[in-house]
């Protein structure tokens, strides 16, 4: 089905509730829907199996207009249909769609905490992103927000462990975070356990919530490039690439083909670094430190290549608006190929290790299994979804930039367990190596950058790219000025959390570290907003103890 047909299908499904249709871009359709008809419209899309809910963007239309707007982005291949719901500032009530589409849970929470939408049935005492000491009626993304309004208020903290860790009978709360040695990132989980079995899971993010989306509104288009690169240090290139692609679309500037090729090349190298990093961390959680050290040793090879191409090991700054700033000459191409030769042999070896090592398989095979239907329901993305047999990869569904010219092949598995996720990630690296070679062999000639205006024309756009962890979505709105009006970032980890929270329940506590590692979480992405276990109360376990417990449990 081509883009036009897909759009028409959606239009037909949504016809009864459609008040106004806009076609801002060839692959996008905006539909204005009434607040009380949102659920019916969502239900219709869901029943017709049209696409998936990718993000919900909240907009403040300004104090003068007295309105807030929520955009529900549904994606199907390259097509994005946005349901636009406007509510008055005095009555920001929105119905919840989380019972129809579970991934909406986190998105609605974000809307309620940052823009003050009153979502039906949402418990506002429990926060996910903004700090516990934040005053209750102040919303940072509102246009009339001033930092002075957000003076800390006293109150209890969510990560405070209950004085009596024991709840009833044999049920304990095991808190994890916000500082924990394994993931190097802050977050907080509370797992309720009955003996060995996890009976409940709760999560608190927000330790790395810095307020980037708000800061972006006061910085110029060029300054923001460096800000968005630092949303996440692991996938910084994909963030910058999504931002640049979006701004270029708004400015109607097409980056030169050579720039697109170099962007894909760096993205491929970044994927190798990210997945090798993940393999090491996952192996560490399983108690397989030898694999951890080996994979990080080999990761240094790709770090060298990245440094050689861009000049930096992390936060590469390869992108500029309108192109890239680094050139790849024949000498560098030869070095990259040499590095890839070595990496390919190592990746094949690791692929053999994760599928044959009995100890490692004990921790991965048949654990955390997610069926394709569940993955679809939870709205999973990236390798976590592909391991369950869901064909979800923006590079293939909606090729962007150089992926049209240098396509990658889809890697999927159907088992949906942790072993399948290991295999998918490692096999993807071989695909990436292949694509990088293709780029190096057929690099288009030409300039590296196109000229960009200082002011970006007014408009809205959506840029979607495939980050190492899954689909990354940028919503960019310009009012025609030197600074953006609103930039909304929806990162893949936010969608994948459900896989941990849902799958931990009913499993052994010993599996929890591997489940968390299995989705390759990235907290700073989420948080733009994880876990220290306190050891001073006997009920509380440290992450280390939990990890050691897991290793010990499976040794028996």
């Amino acid at each position: 089905m081509n883009i036009e047909q897909t759009l028409q299908t959606a239009e037909k499904i949504l016809a009864p509730w459609n008040k106004d249709t806009l076609r801002p871009e060839s692959n996008r359709m905006d539909m204005v829907v009434q607040t009380d008809e949102l659920r019916a419209a969502t239900n219709a899309l869901h029943d017709a199996h049209w696409g998936y809910l990718s993000a919900i963007t909240g907009l403040d239309l300004g104090v003068e207009s007295g309105q807030l707007e929520a955009l529900y982005h549904f994606c199907s291949g390259p097509v994005v249909v946005s349901l636009r719901v406007r509510v008055p500032r005095e009555n920001t009530y929105l119905p919840s769609i989380a019972d129809i589409l579970p991934p909406a849970t986190f998105f609605e929470r974000e809307l309620s905490e940052t823009l003050g939408f009153k979502i039906e049935g949402l418990d506002e005492s429990d926060r996910l992103f903004i700090p516990d000491d934040w005053p209750s009626d102040v919303y940072p993304l509102r246009s009339d927000f001033a930092v002075e309004q957000a003076a800390p208020v006293s109150g209890s903290r969510i990560d405070e462990i209950p004085e009596q860790g024991m709840l009833t009978g044999n049920t304990f709360v095991i808190p994890i975070g916000p500082q924990h040695p394994a993931l190097k990132e802050p977050g907080h989980f509370q797992f309720t356990v009955d003996g060995e079995i996890v009976t409940g899971a709760k999560m608190r993010l927000g330790y790395a919530h810095r307020g980037i989306e708000k800061a972006a509104e006061s910085r110029s288009w060029y300054q923001n490039l460096y800000l968005f690169e630092r949303v996440c240090g692991i996938c910084s290139h994909t963030h910058a690439m999504a931002y640049c692609m979006g701004v270029e679309k708004l400015a109607q500037v097409e980056a030169p083909p050579r720039a697109h090729a170099i962007r894909e090349l760096v993205a491929g190298l970044e994927r190798i670094h990210s997945h090798l990093l993940w393999l090491g961390v996952a192996a560490h959680e399983a108690g397989f430190d030898t694999l951890f050290m080996y994979s990080w040793r080999d990761r240094e090879t790709v770090m060298n290549l990245l440094e050689q191409v861009t000049g930096n090991r992390v936060n590469y700054s390869a992108n500029v608006l309108g192109g890239v700033k680094c050139e790849v000459g024949p000498e560098q191409a030869a070095k990259i190929k040499e590095g890839l030769d070595y990496l390919e042999t190592r990746i094949r070896h690791y692929l053999e290790v994760v599928t044959t090592d009995a100890m490692f398989l004990n921790r991965t095979r048949g654990i955390g299994t997610i069926t394709a239907a569940e993955a679809e329901k939870f709205g999973l993305l990236g390798p976590t979804a592909r391991a369950s047999g869901l064909m979800r990869d923006i590079r293939i569904e909606a090729p962007y930039g150089a992926y049209v010219r240098y396509p990658v092949s889809l890697v999927t598995r159907t088992n949906g367990d942790l072993e399948a996720r290991c295999e998918v990630r490692l096999e993807e690296l071989l695909v990436s190596c292949f694509a990088i070679r293709a780029i190096l062999d057929n690099m288009p000639e030409g300039p590296l950058t196109a000229r960009m205006p200082r002011k970006i024309p007014a408009g809205e756009t959506i840029a979607r790219v495939e980050a190492p962890r899954g689909e990354l979505l940028y919503f960019i709105k310009s009012n025609g000025g030197e600074t953006p009006a609103r930039i909304h970032v929806r990162t893949p980890s936010l969608c994948n959390w459900v896989s941990v929270l849902e799958k931990a329940v009913g499993r052994q506590l010993a599996d929890v570290p591997m489940l968390i590692a299995g989705m390759d979480p990235c907290f700073s992405c989420n948080d733009r907003v994880v876990t220290v276990l306190r050891t001073d109360k006997k009920e509380a376990w440290s992450w280390k103890q939990l990890r050691e417990y897991g290793i010990e449990y499976y040794r028996r």
Binding site: P131, R210, Y226, S236, V314
Partner: protein, 169 residues
């Protein structure tokens, strides 16, 4: 001073302690809202290419067994209290290494509504390692500087605010 004098014993014990500390620095890592860039570079210094374990440095999970607190990232409001608490849990003498531009000045996140500013506004810092993120070589250099200071018996920064007073009771 006789061989039995308590001061002499104290001196000998101090020497042994300093020697031991110099050769086995245990560090705990705290991310107070960083982008992960510094964190993965810190992890990289522990792995085979850079291998700080050859200097006796070990990353340890619990602050209660650590000598050095490595802090990355600007201090966010939600992480601030946890940072103080982690610092308070460490036994004396303790040292703080602040890694990355954000932890030194707020960096690119300076002015964001949820960022309180630099680490040294919250807890006393001994070594600053600039960079966005600093290369592993720079991190190793920072550790060496800390070791050198300890070797020379450099006194700790005189102002050691009682940060525990800020914790909610």
């Amino acid at each position: 001073m006789t061989a039995n004098s308590p001061q002499l014993w104290q001196q000998v014990i101090d020497k042994v302690r300093t020697w031991a500390r110099l050769n086995s620095i245990w560090a705990v890592h705290f991310n107070s809202g960083s982008c992960n860039g510094c964190d993965i570079e810190i992890l990289a210094t522990l792995t085979p290419r850079y291998d700080v374990e050859r200097l006796g440095v070990k990353l340890y999970g619990s602050p209660r067994h650590a000598d050095v607190l490595i802090v990355t990232g600007p201090v966010t409001r939600q992480a601030r209290e946890r940072l103080i608490r982690t610092y308070e849990q460490m036994p004396e003498p303790k040292f703080v290494v602040s890694v990355g531009s954000c932890s030194i000045s707020g960096g690119v996140f300076d002015g964001c509504y949820n960022v309180g500013g630099s680490v040294d506004e919250v807890i006393p810092v001994d070594v600053y390692i600039p960079g966005c993120p600093p290369r592993p070589e720079a991190i190793i250099d920072g550790i060496i500087q800390l070791l050198k200071d300890l070797q020379g018996g450099k006194p700790r920064s005189a102002v050691r605010p009682n940060v525990a007073a800020e914790l909610p009771s």
